[in-house]
Symmetry: D2
Amino acid sequence: MLKVGIVGGTGYTGVELIRLLAGHPFASLEVITSRGEAGTPVDQYFPNLRGKVDLAFTEPDNQVLKGCDIVFFATPNGIAMRQVPELLDSGVRVVDLAADFRLKDTATWKHWYGEDHACPEILAEAVYGLPELNREAIRTARLVANPGCYPTAVQLGFLPLVSRGLVDTQRLVADAKSGVSGAGRGAKVANLLCEVTESFKAYGASGHRHLPEIKQGLSGVAGHAVGLTFVPHLVPMIRGIEATLYAEITEETDFQALFESFYADEPFVDVMPFGSLPETRTVKGTNVCRIALHRQPESRHLVIVSVIDNLVKGAAGQAVHNMNLMAGLPETAGLDSIAILP
Amino acid sequence: MLKVGIVGGTGYTGVELIRLLAGHPFASLEVITSRGEAGTPVDQYFPNLRGKVDLAFTEPDNQVLKGCDIVFFATPNGIAMRQVPELLDSGVRVVDLAADFRLKDTATWKHWYGEDHACPEILAEAVYGLPELNREAIRTARLVANPGCYPTAVQLGFLPLVSRGLVDTQRLVADAKSGVSGAGRGAKVANLLCEVTESFKAYGASGHRHLPEIKQGLSGVAGHAVGLTFVPHLVPMIRGIEATLYAEITEETDFQALFESFYADEPFVDVMPFGSLPETRTVKGTNVCRIALHRQPESRHLVIVSVIDNLVKGAAGQAVHNMNLMAGLPETAGLDSIAILP
Amino acid sequence: MLKVGIVGGTGYTGVELIRLLAGHPFASLEVITSRGEAGTPVDQYFPNLRGKVDLAFTEPDNQVLKGCDIVFFATPNGIAMRQVPELLDSGVRVVDLAADFRLKDTATWKHWYGEDHACPEILAEAVYGLPELNREAIRTARLVANPGCYPTAVQLGFLPLVSRGLVDTQRLVADAKSGVSGAGRGAKVANLLCEVTESFKAYGASGHRHLPEIKQGLSGVAGHAVGLTFVPHLVPMIRGIEATLYAEITEETDFQALFESFYADEPFVDVMPFGSLPETRTVKGTNVCRIALHRQPESRHLVIVSVIDNLVKGAAGQAVHNMNLMAGLPETAGLDSIAILP
Amino acid sequence: MLKVGIVGGTGYTGVELIRLLAGHPFASLEVITSRGEAGTPVDQYFPNLRGKVDLAFTEPDNQVLKGCDIVFFATPNGIAMRQVPELLDSGVRVVDLAADFRLKDTATWKHWYGEDHACPEILAEAVYGLPELNREAIRTARLVANPGCYPTAVQLGFLPLVSRGLVDTQRLVADAKSGVSGAGRGAKVANLLCEVTESFKAYGASGHRHLPEIKQGLSGVAGHAVGLTFVPHLVPMIRGIEATLYAEITEETDFQALFESFYADEPFVDVMPFGSLPETRTVKGTNVCRIALHRQPESRHLVIVSVIDNLVKGAAGQAVHNMNLMAGLPETAGLDSIAILP
């Protein structure tokens, strides 16, 4: 059994990691840290885990974490970059679910996250953990930067097009919508049920931290800087991201066939029949990204619809997928449940 | 008091009309029809109206309706075009909340609505009831075609730009989201709570009936055919439409000042400060459209966010606004309530 | 115009008071205080009020408040009892929406609210502001203690029975359910959308602050101490309280006729036909309490179902009703809107 | 592998059975019937099953079903009792998730379900499939009547008390609340999102079909007819039942110890610490019933709170549990997933 640890286990990403790892056939949860809840039994804090997890939260302690094979950071941005180097030095492999190692350019990182990067030398070796893009590098990585939720949904929708150069990469539009769990478990008025249910709004419409991450990924694939307008929105529900993507076609092809072949071997990307309407509920709790293509009469755009569960394929599930790759396990191990419907 | 009738009072548009007209200072509800519920007291069918409305539903009967000054049709598409001519002939003025008189081109109408138009000669005189666009014509109209919900939100967001020719009208993108009440009150599995809550999806992504309506309106303002890609989405909430609009800027100007001056005299369009994030809940139950503008770094797009209540500004409220104009009443009469929050 | 002030305008009770008073025909909002938001325009903080309210929040200042005829306290428990005496001395009349003046017994108050009462001498004169019980005393009161939300729904359901002595007052059961707005607008993890939506739970099942308030009210009517078991629950919605009440019948009568006659002259209690199923949505945003009675085969219980909007009849609306009574205004002034449906 | 069939696979109980059985380690789904959708691939109808289920719906055909070891009926009431006898005759064992075989008294059945029972002789042998009550009989049963959702939650809460005779069995009160999925997947206006979300109501308050089922079960345990008042309510969420139970204590004991020992060996009943507040979300998608006890000051009642997932422990999960018992499989096989939170 792979010995795994979780740093920061009281947030939504943390509890989702716990759920997935508690049911994983080849991994054993050894330690779950929380500064605020050290000493509290995990299943008292999250009663859905009663009878499933025996651990109590502990103070984060690198000495203990060094006993793990792989450590997940489910901490706020800016924590992992200070704690990870020591772990790597002692041979522990790390998957960071925060943003600390996602942006390669430290100036860009500072611009969007408001402080200097604490370990730029390690940033260079971090592998961006989108398996569909970087599978081989992930297998051998010491440090994986788990992608953001929006970047996962948006990049998977644009990748086949941008990599083949079939659309105008200066005019990409990504209109994305997320459930409220994407905002985390912090005690904020803005995320109270009474503030967000029965309402819908755009946010970050003048610029969002995931914009540079998406552009970095797509630009790398395109071989040049892409132009993207990205607007996220808040949906009155717990889980799910839907991204509706607009790309101007510059070269016609059988786009449906392209997407199907591009993702033919991917266990977690499901290209639906042309004209399908993916619902976020069909991926809830699972690591699947469902994609469908549309054309409108007289329109120059290809419309791509991409849905994921922000806490699974957009966070904890993708992290477990990365762990499976790093450890040479079957890719779908622990990730084969079926979405509950309704 | 203006004598008003409602044809088709059991749907969501109907009950919203009843609510607004029951509280209107200058209108008197004389008749509310329903084939299926004739004889049922209105406040038994809709208990929120207990103590507020004394009428019972009646069979639709033009003889009775002819006693009204204005008749609203809150019927499914294809009903009004068969019943309206006789009413007009007898001097009754009509506001149709369905789609029967919205599209000027009968071939387009047939394409999207699946049958020949029943009274093309009357279609020609119908005034498209977007007061911000056609105020003067509405005042004297015999027949007003009340706009669709999406077309209201989208057109109000694009109008100042298209009318001034400041954006690329061949590349417009409208990503719109609606609460479930937009789908009506019919007994359909697809709109059960268990099918739509805690989920999000695009629909009509390959073409939606409101696409030609929006294009007709914007093309009329632009003076040429515009190119638009329009994708509607279903939000797990009752009311509200949010449209995020993407327009490529072809000529720079002070867009905020433009919007503020364009709508300065409009009682129901509220241009928020630049960079604001309108929430649909702030217009719930009211006839207001709130708009805000955004720019993203390195983006060529102006992003316009527009929110309305689909059942009020997108249907019944706009219909009452049209009635106020037709009858020479104060425009805000019966439409000045404050959105409930939370 | 009656000059009114609100102390504590940033919570849910506060914003609801602002909404109701901004639309009140005989009241003028003069001052709205908030320590935390002093200086912020009210309609910037609550955008639903844009164009409707011109005030900015100010620091709470008794000198300014003394210029009002009536001051509402929409503050946390324990604030009003320290600030009210000075206002009363200067002739201002007060409606307190918190719990400071609801319980007549200071020992009971201390037990449930955790501190000594700050002005027991004034507590004695406070009138419990349930108009259906204390209408005449309210008219002349200097200080009205606005009832809690649950106590309003529960007492109105039991009152006719307890006052006539027709049920076993030692075996009353009140199973009540509230929307999340009842928990206030504080930044608490427990009230995040992701914590409460798509879930249901009892809370306060071992004892809740509203239990002694309900027992005080019913015991006063009964003429002896009643026995009551009261369990509140949290419903995944914003507004609304439903109370299902179980009373063992000790003397048969025509209960429907009893309820109808008991509330015949009440403008805000609507006794529905026997066997009706009141929905909270039918009272949303309104000051109405809807009640219906049920009997089950072989059961010794009369089942009473009572619904209110916790923020209106359960808080701000009842406070305005009390103001109307205190000022000799028509009881329904500012309180005659129709619930939005759907 | 156990060969299993599902009759009626397009409802909510059906799709939940499919989900559970598709992931079951010892069962193989052989046939899923639907009159209306015969020929449609199951994963086209329910896209959450894409990649997980290869079958298409077929016409219900006893000849095909006879090839199964166990057949589940997830049909409307009144279907199974006509089709089951032939299957039993050919050696197939049956679990009926409808109400056809739950009530032993045919007169009571006719009263509540409106028609004569079609096979009273088989009704007599049917075993009521509440494993905590009838485990041994279930193991050898040919025909298991899977309990209703409310009866499961209510009986498990009352069982330890009634079986020991510690409470007044003539004064039981069960106030139960269910998510909307309990109403099924039929196309009914009453269950549209716009009709039920953001609202709460009692229903069946004058008598509900689950009342005689609960009374039959508890009376059997008590050894005499119990008196029960039962009011179900509709919660604006998809899944979950919460039952708050009120029992007058006639003999004091350590109730917490009683419940813990009563359910000590039960894999699917979790007695939480005294005073806990079970949330329905902690059992979502799982077969667990969580129970907690409460006492209020001066109250003669023991308050029992019981939560289940109505589609799992209240339907499909309990059916699979019954199948596991009938087939001699481990009781928790296929039923050990962890509830997703949030």
